[in-house]
Every structure is written in structure tokens, then in C-alpha cells.
């Protein structure tokens, strides 16, 4: 038996929500699979494009670095590709997530299900697009001749933190887009700004001391620095950066999810 009663503001019963979400986990995998298939990422050329696109991008940015700084080296290129690829995991989660609720209108108006499934699927798709680029980076790294070390395993917790942050951002922005449909048009400017604020085209240690405050406002700053230290330089990341990154990710995830869950029951009348 199902009972529907008026809800008070705030969260739905979380245990029941989670059960309902967990029982539909095949939806998330099926949705990501059909979405990727529809974008032809199941074919060899589709996969190639998935890798080629960020590679070309990193080549263009490398050109920019060489021109602006006058010189560069292969470690610099490794840093650029590693951080750029991880950055695109977050950026793709945002671009995929922003319209996930508004595009799911038909489904939302016709079926009762935990709405959070839609932005979660968008993040899963972004992760599937990220994985082949990670493999490409490891090839680049080997070709350049950077030494491998056990410290590189720090990349795993950094990746987990990034995924949590991407999930939190996607959930938040998908909900905002229901109320302000033009957020999706602002998004390219926001991601571009975030790209320049992050240690991608430069290394965290290159930042001028007077600009240091910028890193306080960018959740990706400590994360990307830790990622680069682990994967490119084979060093352990700074403990402070790991903790700040984790704090950002958990904070954004909790606030965004609260915001989403307390509003999702009225999405049907807002679409």
C-alpha cells in the first residue's frame, strides 16, 4: 500500500527515498548506456573522438602556454593534460546535469520516481566519458618518460572527491535550472572562468602571492593541485589541500542535495 499525504517543507523520509532510488539503479546504468550509444560512443570512431577532443584542446592550450611564457617542457604538458581531463569531468557533469530535470519533463509528469536519478545519470555519463581520457594520459605520461611511483595512488581518493563534487554541482544546478531556465546559457561563462581560476594552464606554485586569495573561492583549486602532484609529479598531495577539497565536495554535495530533495516534489508543477 502507498500512502500520499501533505508534506512539510524539508526533506522527504530519507530511508524510503534511498530504497526507491536503489531499486531503480538499473535506470541509471541503462540511461547512461543509451545516452552514450546515442552519441555513438560505443563505436571505435566515437571513442576516438572522445579522446581526440580533449587532446586537441590540450594541444591548443599548450601552444598558448609556450607563446605566453616563452618556453615550456614535457612535464608542463603532462600537468596540463592531467588537470584538463579531470576538469572536463566536472565541466561535463555540469553541462549534462543542468538540463537533466527540464529535459526529463515527460518522464517527470508521467511517473513517480526519485528525481535525483536524472542528475546522477548525467554525472555517470561524464565519468564514462572521462575514463578513456585517463588511459590516454597514462600513455602520454609513459611516452614522456615520467617515473612511476606508489604515491600516484593518491589520485584515487582525489578522483573520488572530484566525483562527489561533480555530483553535488550537477544536482544543484539541475534544480536551479527549473526556476531559472537561462542558467544553462550562463554555464559556458562560468566553466570558462573556473578553468582560468584553476591550476591548469599554470601550476599552483606559480601563482603570485597577491593572487593567492583566489584559490579560497575555487573548490577545484586544491583538488586539481593534489591531482597533479600525485599523477604528474608522483608526490603525496598536501594534507591541507586534500582536506579543503574534501570539505568543499562534502559541503556542496550536502547543501545541493538538501536543496534538491526539499524541492523535487514541486518540479511537476514547475515544468
Amino acid at each position: 500500500m502507498q500512502v500520499y499525504e501533505p508534506f512539510r517543507a524539508g526533506l522527504p523520509p530519507l530511508r524510503r527515498y534511498w530504497k526507491s532510488l536503489w531499486s531503480r539503479r538499473t535506470f541509471i546504468s541503462e540511461y547512461s548506456r543509451s545516452e552514450l550509444r546515442e552519441q555513438h560512443f560505443d563505436s571505435a570512431f566515437g571513442q576516438l573522438w572522445l579522446v581526440l577532443n580533449p587532446l586537441l584542446l590540450s594541444a591548443v592550450y599548450f601552444l598558448l602556454i609556450v607563446i605566453i611564457s616563452g618556453s615550456s617542457n614535457s612535464t608542463r604538458y603532462a600537468h596540463l593534460t592531467a588537470t584538463l581531463f579531470l576538469f572536463y569531468l566536472v565541466a561535463n557533469s555540469l553541462t549534462g546535469g543542468v538540463k537533466s530535470i527540464t529535459a526529463g519533463q515527460r518522464l517527470i509528469l508521467n511517473t513517480a520516481f526519485p528525481r535525483i536519478m536524472l542528475p546522477v545519470s548525467a554525472v555517470v555519463i561524464a565519468i564514462f566519458k572521462f575514463l578513456p581520457t585517463l588511459a590516454v594520459f597514462l600513455v602520454i605520461r609513459t611516452v614522456i618518460g615520467l617515473p612511476f611511483s606508489w604515491q600516484m595512488l593518491w589520485a584515487i581518493p582525489v578522483l573520488l572527491i572530484t566525483m562527489l563534487l561533480a555530483l553535488g554541482l550537477a544536482v544543484t544546478i539541475s534544480c536551479i535550472n527549473v526556476y531559472f531556465r537561462d542558467i544553462s546559457s550562463f554555464l559556458p561563462y562560468m566553466t570558462r572562468t573556473l578553468l582560468y581560476l584553476s591550476p591548469i594552464l599554470y601550476e599552483a606554485s606559480d601563482l603570485k602571492p597577491q593572487l593567492r586569495t583566489l584559490e579560497l573561492f575555487n573548490p577545484l583549486f586544491p583538488i586539481l593541485d593534489s591531482w597533479s602532484r600525485a599523477l604528474v609529479h608522483g608526490q603525496a598531495p598536501l594534507t591541507s589541500h586534500m582536506l579543503i577539497g574534501l570539505g568543499w565536495a562534502v559541503g556542496i554535495f550536502l547543501i545541493g542535495t538538501y536543496f534538491f530533495l526539499s524541492r523535487e516534489r514541486e518540479f511537476a508543477v514547475r515544468l
Binding site: 500500500m1 502507498q2 500512502v3 500520499y4 499525504e5 501533505p6 508534506f7 526507491s20 531499486s23 531503480r24 538499473t26 535506470f27 541503462e30 540511461y31 543509451s34 545516452e35 550509444r37 546515442e38 529535459a103 526529463g104 519533463q105 515527460r106 518522464l107 517527470i108 509528469l109 508521467n110 511517473t111 513517480a112 520516481f113 536519478m117 526556476y179 531559472f180 531556465r181 537561462d182 542558467i183 550562463f186 516534489r265 514541486e266 511537476a268 508543477v269 514547475r270
Partner: protein, 257 residues
């Protein structure tokens, strides 16, 4: 007819706030900042509705546009939470509301059927076992694997109806979907509805096709402006509603006409 309750609606009220703009934007909000114009509208869709549906019943819902028919269906299906009252649903519900399946038009009909089913809480195996029948019934043929944006509105409606009517739920809710498709499919779907009538199933049909409702239903409820006006024998209620419409037309009592 058994008297086991399928859906019990008690003192249901539904009020919601919706955006006036079809597409609310930050830009519009910022532009109207100084003027203090209203961005949202409060809609009172349902008011003190009491309704029991028992298994074996085929309930038709009639009423003019904006009477709250679709809102009532959405509340029973659990899509909209009620503002007042309590709804109890005993059994699995399959819905075919205004929009039906097809949430991602760039995906094929097949993918959309699977995604719709999974979102509704079915398992892959369940959908697998029904899929052949759904595809057959919809008569889409090869088109089932084409992206849904290539479908005509009739094809959309046929696929949507096939999904809802094939999974054989305990409670089937169909909102204005009987009158879509060509004459042949209309008859086919009507026959399917008649087949689905049984003692262990409850059907709720929203429609403007009075003759059809009179034919298939054994109970009809009439909603007007969010209130339940009359409920009972199809013939009686439908005649009362028809009379009301006639009077409304001549005397302009009903401003919704």
C-alpha cells in the same frame, strides 16, 4: 464486483504555486526587480475531493478543461503530493497521463520504453518479457528502433498506450489518451481497455468522449473547478453533465467554456 478498495481519496485538496512564465528566467526576474511584478501564481486545483475506487470498477472522470482531472490523476499516481487530505493506493499503478512515454526524443522508441519502465520501478526482466507484446500492439514495426523525434504524434500516442496497457497493472490510469491515433487504433485501444476490465483490476479513465465512457465505464465521476460534483451511474452523471454544458452554453454560467 468485489468491494476491495483500490484507491481511497479522503478530503483531498491541492494547491500549488507555478511560474507565470512558461520559461522562467533569471534575466526576466532581474529586469522586473524594481517593479515588483508577480512571478508566480497560486493555483487551487482540487478542493475537498472524496473518492473511493474499488477493484472491478471502471471509473470515468469527466469535467470541463481546468476542472482538476489531470491533477487528480497525478496525485493518485504519486507524482504530485497533496496539500490536504490523504490518499491510499493498494496495488501497482500504471499511468498513461497527458504526455505518455518518450522522455528523450533523440533515443529510439525501444530505449524510451525501457527507460520509462525502469523509472516506473519495473525490472529489466519484466520489461523484456513484455517488450514483444508492446511492440506488436503499437504496430510501429521497424520504427521502434528509430529515434522518437522522427515519430508522428499518432505514433507517440500508440507507443504510449501500448506500454501502459500491456504491463497489466492492478490499477491503470489513462488520461485523455483514448482519443488519439487513427480510427483503427482507437478501436483497438478501446477493445484493449474492455479486455482489461476484470474483478481484480481498477481502471480510471479521463476522457471527453462521453459515448466511449458510457460504453466502457460502470461508474462516472464529474469534477468541476476542483470539486466533485456528482458520482454514480454513467448514464445519469453523463446526462447531468451534458445538460450542464447545454445550459452553460446558453446562459454562460460556466466561464470555462
Amino acid at each position: 464486483m468485489t468491494n476491495e478498495i483500490a484507491v481511497s481519496v479522503r478530503g483531498l485538496g491541492l494547491t500549488y504555486t507555478t511560474a507565470i512564465d512558461r520559461r522562467p528566467t533569471l534575466k526576466a526576474r532581474v529586469k522586473s526587480l524594481g517593479r515588483g511584478g508577480k512571478q508566480t501564481r497560486v493555483i487551487r486545483a482540487l478542493d475537498e475531493v472524496n473518492l473511493d475506487v474499488t477493484y472491478g470498477q471502471v471509473l470515468g472522470i469527466i469535467g470541463s478543461n481546468g476542472a482538476g482531472k489531470s491533477s487528480l490523476m497525478r496525485v493518485i499516481a504519486g507524482i504530485l503530493p497533496p496539500s490536504q487530505g490523504r490518499i491510499e493506493v493498494y496495488g501497482s499503478v500504471s499511468t498513461l497521463l497527458a504526455l505518455g512515454v518518450g522522455f528523450n526524443p533523440s533515443m529510439s522508441g525501444r530505449d524510451n520504453v525501457y527507460l520509462g519502465g525502469l523509472a516506473a520501478g519495473m525490472s529489466r526482466d519484466e520489461i523484456d518479457s513484455h517488450f514483444e507484446e508492446i511492440a506488436d500492439f503499437s504496430e510501429l514495426g521497424e520504427a521502434i528502433d528509430a529515434p522518437m523525434r522522427t515519430y508522428s504524434s499518432g505514433m507517440y500516442a500508440r507507443l504510449a498506450f501500448s506500454v501502459a496497457a500491456t504491463v497489466r497493472p492492478d490499477i491503470l490510469i489513462v488520461d485523455e489518451a483514448l482519443s488519439t491515433g487513427d480510427a483503427k487504433f482507437k478501436e483497438k485501444s478501446l477493445n484493449r481497455i474492455k479486455e482489461l476490465r476484470s474483478d481484480d483490476r481498477a481502471l480510471i479513465l479521463v476522457s471527453h468522449a462521453m459515448a466511449t465512457l458510457e460504453d466502457v465505464c460502470n461508474d462516472v465521476a464529474w469534477l468541476h473547478k476542483g470539486k466533485l460534483v456528482q458520482r454514480g451511474e454513467p448514464k445519469v452523471v453523463i446526462n447531468a453533465y451534458r445538460e450542464f454544458l447545454q445550459v452553460g452554453k446558453s446562459a454562460a454560467i460556466d466561464e470555462d467554456v
